[in-house]
Amino acid sequence: MNWLSRRDYDKNNDLFSSFRKRVNSLFDDFLSDSPVSMKNFDFEPTVDIDEDEKNIYVKADLPGMNEKDIDISINNNVLTIKGERSEEDEDKDKNKHRIERRYGYFERSFSLPEHVVTDKAKAKYKNGVLKLEIPKDEKKAKSKKISIEAK
């Protein structure tokens, strides 16, 4: 199983990540149908992923959003969470002392293992946390035993 999203890869390496962004922008035009989109984004929400026997759990911190502004899709076993967060209207023309929170477009993608039932995935947004539950297909998940024929 591979939980590393393409974007997470070399996330800690600024030199490579800026290089990668530039390469990605070159490919943007003719790779627009790619399951992992390579658009520019303003921030990346923190995401935790976990699993047990039955489900895969994905949790994303997305405080200060409305459900309708969060878009979740699974395409070719790639899970994508994207959306846009904007400042509260009443804050826009205020005298700003400190802005640490991030606003704008975000997107994160993760490749899922083969044996998930994507139709039965469930999502909940509460207290600023998005929680996804993706059930596993138990039949597919079982490991196959291969017997060796004796000659």
């Binding site: 949790k59 911190d61 405080p63 929170r101």
Partner: protein, 122 residues
């Protein structure tokens, strides 16, 4: 108060993990507004204290918002303190929480508020 104290010091939890929440601070005509990101903290787990000019915000993330494999061992707590200037009416501080964002309103004291000065004709 005692109940809250118990939430924060649950003996079953072996590790406390503290996070400093990201904050925006705005100034309005009559008050300062602080917005802090505390995703996963329900209203009842939140504690806001004002003591000796220090405003402390503390909120424990609800267990169901932690991943199943870690929720037994770890408590995640958002915590941050701010020094508040003397020109704030500390008795009138109010707070609301919505979708994981805490908003604290700190009203300016009367003498700081902008006011018009009437010119009297002598």
């Amino acid at each position: 108060m005692k109940e809250r104290h118990d939430i924060m010091n649950n003996t079953n939890i072996s590790k406390e993990h503290y996070i400093s929440p990201l904050c925006d601070i705005y100034e309005k005509e009559n008050d300062y507004v602080l917005r802090a990101e505390i995703p996963g903290v329900p209203k009842e787990n939140l504690e806001i204290n004002m003591d000796k000019g220090i405003l402390e915000v503390r909120g424990k993330v609800e267990d169901e918002n932690l991943l199943p494999s870690i929720r037994k061992d770890v408590a995640v707590i958002y915590r941050r303190a701010f020094k508040v200037s003397n020109d704030i009416e500390s008795e009138k501080i109010s707070a609301t929480i919505k979708n994981g964002v805490l908003t604290v309103s700190l009203p300016k004291s009367e003498k700081l508020k902008p006011r018009k000065i009437k010119v009297e004709v002598s």
